[in-house]
């Protein structure tokens, strides 16, 4: 017996649309951290998209130097100070968000598509197809991911596209594993047997019956890994194998700025570091929240 709240009054006859206790969205909404991180991520994405409108120095954000203003501490004019080339750090951080989010989402998209497709094929067909695909996967998993990504990035020319390719190559096998495990269990379900019994071809069975029913754990993992992907892009840039200057990248900014921390110019590496921290934190917490909603066993007792 809950008193009729504002929301119910506003929704009126449509209040059945509100999340019912026990439903997935109800649980998600109760997970304040997850909701908060979703909001943070949404703001980050908006700031990245609208970067040129938010900052008065979009040219500096894209990389043009302004030597006269170099290494100014945070002020009203430059809320995060300026870097060694006199560029407004806030503008650089905003444009860095573009790099980080574009790279992070691209890596997740490529890895999920590639990994899920291969994993689903391996799990559905089984036998020699399964063995072949999964042994290749094992080879990739045997390398430490960062080391493999650095090696590939070093062979390719440093660029945003190449670092996305390098990281995706180390990333997809994780999704292939999850997808395969799911496909093996979905394959045995009666609706797949019914489809086989009807005479539906293998390709259509995979597309219509296997893939849609294995996406949930894949999407949870993809959300959880978004932060790690962004961190890896930054790590590549930090060691100089990632996005080349003058494109703004948080990893490169931290790398270039770290020597200034010794002579009191703390703001140079700190603000890109904070931006990286907040982004990764938000995507991890969001992933946790989604996992709890999708997996009722992890739900905390109702209260």
């Amino acid at each position: 017996m809950t008193p009729i709240g504002l929301r119910e009054r506003v929704l009126g006859r449509w209040r059945w649309m509100a999340a019912e206790p026990g439903s997935a969205s109800w649980y998600f909404k109760r997970d304040r951290l997850a909701v908060f991180s979703l909001i943070v991520l949404a703001i980050l994405i908006m700031m990245a998209v609208l970067a040129p409108l938010i900052t008065p120095y979009p040219e500096q954000g894209r990389g043009s130097p302004s030597i006269m203003d170099k290494l100014k501490p945070p002020s009203l004019e430059h809320p995060m100070g300026t870097d060694p080339l006199g560029r407004d750090l806030f503008a650089r951080v905003l444009f860095g968000a573009r790099t980080a989010l574009i790279a992070g989402f691209s890596i997740q998209l490529i890895s999920v598509l590639l990994g899920t497709a291969l994993g689903a094929i391996a799990g559905y067909f089984g036998g020699i197809v399964d063995e072949t695909i999964m042994r290749v996967t094992d080879v990739f998993l045997a390398f430490p991911p960062l080391l493999l990504a650095m090696t590939i990035a070093a062979v390719l020319k440093p660029s945003l596209v190449n670092s996305v390719i390098a990281i995706s190559i180390t990333w997809w096998p994780w999704y292939a594993r999850i997808a395969r495990a799911q496909a093996v269990s979905v394959r045995e379900r009666d609706y797949v047997r019914a489809a086989v019994g009807i005479g539906v071809g293998d390709r259509m069975i995979i597309i219509r019956h296997i893939l849609p029913n294995l996406m949930t754990p894949i999407l949870i993992q993809a959300t959880l890994d978004l932060g790690a992907a962004i961190l890896t892009v930054s790590a590549l840039s930090f060691v100089g194998l990632g996005v080349p200057p003058p494109t703004a990248d948080w990893g490169a900014m931290i790398s270039e700025g770290r020597i200034y921390i010794q002579n009191g110019r703390w703001w140079v590496p700190t603000f890109p570091g904070l931006a990286l921290f907040i982004t990764i934190m938000a995507s991890n917490l969001l992933g946790d929240g989604i996992q709890v909603v999708a997996n009722p066993q992890l739900r905390r007792g109702s209260q």
């Binding site: 379900r189 009666d190 609706y191 047997r193 019914a194 489809a195 086989v196 019994g197 009807i198 005479g199 539906v200 071809g201 259509m204 219509r208 019956h209 849609p212 029913n213």
Partner: protein
């Protein structure tokens, strides 16, 4: 067997491999069906009864070729479906469909009813969207559902409605054979009766042949023209429904009958309670497979496998008790 035979199963043997030990070093073979033979008459219902693990579902799965038997033939109108290649098999599948026990697991939770029922039509026929829609509405009304159900998802259906959708999908291509693998045992009792009635109507309208698998003898008696009683992968008794009901010959069949509730409490029938559980098919008992639990076990049963004895036209059972009975009958004749 009189009449026109639709399905003729001969010497069907199915093995499952089970691995044990490190890296599956001790791989075991379990014979679920061995040298299994059975015939189905066109347009009739054959009820297959047995406890869990007796090979009922394996029989269904081999007929649908979900599992590959290691020996035997299954003739469908004289054509061995076990010998068909992939392409031929896909065509053959139009003729035979299966309905599973749990309708919620046999309907893809991500697809709407419309798409589920459309799947066989799209796979085998070349219909325009309008024809497709018309056919789906027709099929749904045949199973007692209206058009409004087309846009529903399986989780928005009751168990009975979901099984009706599964039936609509199964009869969509006008198959000749429907394998019903315990189609009512996941449903409420009141709904079971409706589905059984619907099955009867569909059989009349489409001249369907049913292979009705169940663990409930009472239900099988109600719906079947012929009954096959399975025990540990073998048919122990086979015959017309009326013959088996009137005079069950095998001790196992009698035990099954005595365990089904009777509406008349005064009938005063003795209850035969079987001791123990079904032995593991991994290590079936020698001699008669039923001897470990048979209330009328004899020394002979432990060593010698009984032969099938026909007791009347088209009714036979495999039991040593019948040896003795027949011998005494012959003795009477001779005198």
């Amino acid at each position: 067997m009189s009449g026109d035979t639709l399905i003729d199963i001969r010497g069907l043997t199915v093995e499952y491999k089970t691995s044990a030990g490190l890296l599956g070093s001790r791989s075991q073979r379990t014979r679920v069906l061995e040298d299994f033979s059975l015939q189905l008459e066109r347009g009739a219902t054959l009820g297959v009864v047995g406890e869990s693990g007796c090979g009922k579902s394996t029989l269904a799965n081999s007929m649908m070729r979900f599992v590959e038997p290691i020996a035997g033939q299954i003739f469908f109108e004289g054509r061995d479906i076990l010998a068909l290649d992939r392409r031929e098999l896909r065509g053959q599948r139009r003729q035979m469909q299966i309905v599973f026990q749990n309708p919620f697991s046999s309907l893809n939770p991500r697809l709407r009813v419309k798409t589920i029922v459309a799947e066989p039509l799209i796979t085998h026929l070349d219909l325009t969207p309008a024809q497709l829609e018309e056919r789906i509405i027709e099929l749904l009304s045949e199973v007692g559902l209206n058009e409004a159900f087309m846009r529903r998802f399986p989780h928005e259906l009751s168990g009975g409605q979901a099984q009706r959708v599964a039936l609509a999908r199964a009869v969509a291509l006008n198959p000749k054979l429907l394998i019903l693998d315990e189609p009512t045992s996941a449903l409420d009792v009141s709904v079971q009766a409706q589905i059984v009635n619907l099955l009867g109507k569909l059989q009349r309208d489409h001249q369907l042949t049913y292979l009705f698998i169940s663990h409930s003898l009472a239900l099988v008696q109600h719906i079947s023209d012929y009954i096959a009683v399975l025990y540990l992968g073998e048919v122990v008794e086979y015959g017309r429904q009326a013959d088996i009901t009137r005079a069950p010959r095998h001790p196992y069949t009698r035990a099954l009958f005595s365990s089904t509730p009777q509406p008349d409490p005064e009938s005063g029938r003795e209850r035969i309670i079987l001791e123990g559980t079904v032995p593991s098919p991994k290590d079936p008992p020698g001699g008669c497979r039923f001897h470990t639990r048979c209330p009328q076990v004899m020394e002979l049963c432990r060593h010698k496998k009984p032969k099938a004895h026909a007791t009347e036209a088209g009714h036979w059972a495999t039991c040593h008790l019948l040896d003795a009975e027949l011998e005494s009958l012959q003795g009477v004749d001779a005198s």
